[in-house]
């Protein structure tokens, strides 16, 4: 029993000393051979902000806008976008068009419902978009273009029939990227706003079909 106690005591006394001496030995070895772990790859550091980013988007678009109860006319506009992530983007758009006569005005031959300057349609919208289905178009057997089907929803205002109308818009679009900095979009948008020129206030669905040229900056 006593021998056992003595040996435990001995171990307890000697152990720290042994550990310290082995550590010192390891340290001196390390000093001799330099760093133990050599980096395997020589890395070149660089400033990421110098890489060209293509997050901003500038677009010109034109197409047709069908205003409910009125006829369909050419529409042209401008879009500015920012791509927040691979999925989400925000976009501001502004466009103008002009409407013709309602079928009532043509058939009755009576007084026009709107003055000429009230037939101008102008809207601006701010939308949030989501890239729903990324894909590819195989143009020829060796030429492939990236595409994406996107959806967006936005709010804004439409100036029509002499007044501003709060507008909600939903859109579906198909984008074909011919280069990293250039794309062609086909978009179908529904502009929903209230019109009160026929006596009572009614909600109208106004469909717009456009083609846009987009530059990424």
């Amino acid at each position: 029993m006593e021998i056992r106690f003595r040996s435990i005591l001995l171990v307890a006394l000697l152990a720290p000393g042994f550990l310290v001496s082995s550590e010192l030995a390891a340290q001196s070895e390390e000093e001799e051979s330099g760093n133990l772990i050599e980096p395997q790859i020589e890395r070149v550091e660089f400033d990421e902000s110098l890489i060209d980013a293509f997050d901003f988007e500038l677009a010109l678009y034109a197409g047709f806008l069908a205003v409910e109860n009125f006829d369909t006319n050419l529409v042209s506009g401008l879009k500015i976008g920012y791509h927040v992530s691979e999925d989400f983007f925000v976009q501001a758009s502004y466009a103008s068009s002009e409407v013709g006569k309602t079928s009532f005005e043509i058939l009755s031959g009576g007084a026009p419902l709107l003055a000429d300057d009230e037939r101008k349609v102008e809207y601006y919208l701010v939308s949030l978009g989501y890239n729903l289905f990324p894909g590819e178009t195989f143009f020829t057997d060796s030429t492939t273009f990236n595409t994406v089907l996107y959806v967006s929803g936005g709010v804004g205002s439409t100036d029509f029939a002499g007044g501003d109308r709060h507008t909600i818009a939903f859109a579906v679009g198909h984008r074909t990227l011919f280069a990293d900095g250039f794309s062609l979009d086909i978009e179908m948008r529904d502009l929903i706003f209230d019109v009160d020129i026929f006596g009572s206030e009614e909600s109208t669905q106004n469909l717009e079909f456009t083609l846009s040229l987009n530059l990424f900056l």
Binding site: F46, I80, N146
Partner: protein, 268 residues
């Protein structure tokens, strides 16, 4: 009204340009490398892949298919960036898109988490510029607002709002300066208090009898909550009370108007 709308659009464009400049300047200072830097040449930045491997997608999104894999040690050129994706060119001429997540060690040699990119709640608290859109109801009529802001301190943000409300009786355009106080900017759901002053231009709806535009000064107080959602993105909801100092009202009373709105914003 048309001039206002054009002004709004030009303003928005300038704000976008300004913000893009600021964000690139910011990332330039944050990504300041300690050692030698590689300069871009015509073929982009030449880097050596330090991650175990990187996957090349055909487009800048996880949805595009992977067509090639580059192993550690290979030399590639980084050509351009789109959101969180880098277009790279391999030694044998293949070009594809790699996510920033996979390039982490290649981009940041120390292997530390890449701070500039992966903004978290603390970056949200440190943000300087914010720009957004809100929609809701102002005096029971739909309202639409765009705003931009700059953080003066961690708890105090100066904001400028431009809004338009279109009702059945009248429509109004307003411009206001706001001070936003956030007592707890680090919280994911961060509450805030706002105080503002501005001008409001009320014009009667076209189908009613013609009347003159009415421009008045107003003061506003409000509360709201904003939530940081993902990288540089936040949602907010707020309720405001406006006191419009009517100068033309026959009773000469101040008009009180309530507003609620929600929206999103991008911050840098």
């Amino acid at each position: 009204m048309h001039r206002l709308r054009e002004g709004l659009f030009i303003g928005l464009f300038l704000l976008l340009v300004c913000v893009s400049q600021v964000s690139s300047a910011q990332s330039a200072t944050q990504a300041e490398p300690p050692g030698e830097t590689s300069d871009p040449d015509e073929s982009g930045f030449r880097v050596t892949i330090a991650d175990p491997f990187v996957e090349l997608h055909t487009g800048p999104s996880a949805g595009y298919p992977i067509f090639h894999v580059v192993d550690r040690g290979a030399e590639v050129s980084i050509l351009i960036r789109k959101t969180n994706w880098f277009k790279i060119e391999t030694g044998d001429g293949k070009t594809g898109w790699v996510s920033r997540e996979q390039m982490r060690h290649t981009l940041q040699p120390s292997g530390q988490p890449f701070k500039v990119v992966e903004l978290d709640a603390s970056d949200f608290a440190e943000r300087k510029w914010v720009m957004g859109v809100t929609t809701g109801e102002f005096a029971s009529a739909p309202v639409f607002t765009i705003f931009g802001g700059y953080s003066l301190t961690e708890n105090l943000v100066a904001e400028v709002h431009f809004g338009q409300s279109v009702g059945s009786i009248s429509s109004s355009t307003f411009f206001k300066g706001n001070l936003v106080m956030q007592p707890l900017p680090d919280l994911k759901y961060s509450p805030y208090l706002t105080l503002g002053v501005g001008k409001i231009d009320v014009s009667p709806s076209s189908t009613l009898l013609a009347g003159n535009d009415d421009v008045n000064t107003f003061a506003q107080v409000g509360i709201g909550i904003q939530r940081f959602v993902s990288r540089s993105f936040l949602f907010r909801f707020e309720v405001n009370e406006y006191v419009i100092f009517s100068t033309t009202s026959t009773t000469n009373n101040n008009e009180e108007v309530n507003e609620w709105k929600f929206g999103f914003a991008v911050f840098y």
